[in-house]
Amino acid sequence: MAAVETCDVLVVGAGFGGPVAARRCAEAGLETIILERSRVPGEKVVSGLVIPFYGFTFGPDFIREGNPPIERPICRVVNRFVRGGEIYATDSTLRVPKPLALGYSAYCKPFCTWLADRAVEAGAELRTSTTAVEPILEKGAVKGVITDRGDEIRCRVLIDAGGTQNRLAIQAGLRRKYLPEALELYMLWDFEMAKEDVDQTFGLSMEFFHALPEEGIGAPLGYGSTLYIFTYRESIHPGLGQFLVTRGEIPNLAKLLPQYFENFQNKVTRWKRDIAPKVKLRATTWDVCPIYAGLIPETRNMPIFGDGILIIGDAAGFEASAFGDGVPSAWFSAELAAEVAVEAVRRGDSSPYVLREYEKKVREHPYITWIITDWRRWDLRKVLVSGDERELRRMIRDHWGVGAFRYRYSGRPLAKAVREALRRDPHAPLKWMEMFTRYFRNWEENRFDPLSVS
């Protein structure tokens, strides 16, 4: 017989955002359940993945104070400009000295498991292998979900952390599926590589390969991601992607994405000479990512809350349009949603009147709105029209080189976030330094918090 149960807060999804919201709610003493459709958190999440530093410095305290399983600190972005398979210029002006880092690479399964462990530790209940099939709706209000076993789980507030495909909020009539123009289909390859070889070939950098379309190693500029290689402890993780729509057409991505990577492997000397002899393919995966959700008014303006429901992370379209980093905003929005959920449960009122506070907090957040409406990647389309390599190099330097920190780009949200952090805690910079140093040491010693499931 189908069971019926109740809780204060039900979080759907134990990817990057869900556990952060659940931990906050559980810490506040709320009865919190997390549902996750995979058997182990993170094993259905396909991502890049380099999580930028600002997620750590301005995100949840427990992540900053903990020892999550990171793969490699990334201190430098190396932009390679390719013509005829050869690198004709390199821009590596975006860098910080270690132990500072621009970001940390990570595999999703251990990282999401670590996050879910922290939620459980705070008292949340994690139910894996459970799919939320549809929301329970009463007079337009979300009251919980029905699971794939037909059980009813009722709650005061539902936090939808289900990621890009966002089925629950669509079924609840709040949102529509993302437009294909907003979505990039990424293909990713994971290669084993000895740690010494990664250290020697890349050090603490990640690499981007920019080229005009005739090179055939990536989507037309602005219509996707140039090929990148993210570096991990003992592996490298190349990836590339293209939007589901290019110049109004749905391209044959099934053919193009593997073709771009094949061309890259066959043509680009850096790969053939420095990398290929040292690597062995271990995995091929892909996923879609709502990178332009914030740039398209129809998707940007879809509701992020409703009666009884708060929507966070990718499900809310909080994906950075320039770099495609969505983890920091999943964390930021998870914390904001949890604060509002706690208040709603305390007041015994989860009507939109109370929950709309979440939208206000999201709008006021120094990073979220800014990063989802950043035009830098889109602007590469100008080079696509002009075909001017000098302009390409200038734009990359400005956007993915040292210029990225200019006030009109990421300098502004950074300055605002620092100001806010200092207002709350004048010692914040010391805590950041402590974190960077500890993370670096953890990486050097290859020692992180143990995981409940390895």
């Binding site: 595999y107 589901l244 099934a254 995995a283 996923d287 879609v288």
Partner: protein
Amino acid sequence: MEIRTSDRFPGVQWVGDPGDFIKVDEARCDGCANCVRVCLAECYEIRDKKARVKTLAECMECAACWYVCDKGAILFSWPPGGTGFRTDWG
């Protein structure tokens, strides 16, 4: 539960029986083949001017097919908990 792998896509496993979690509503499908063009797992084929799910054996549940179907002919849902694709390397 049974675990399947694929030579084409190493490092990924498909667990148990996910069932028909993606279906095509033939009445709505106009055979535009957008789904075929974006599916890296080659789940679809066009037969008699309609898309058909050929197999979900290598589906990574990305839903690209669902997004590009502007006729609303692709019915997309999640497989039951604990089944379907999984990876250690995402």
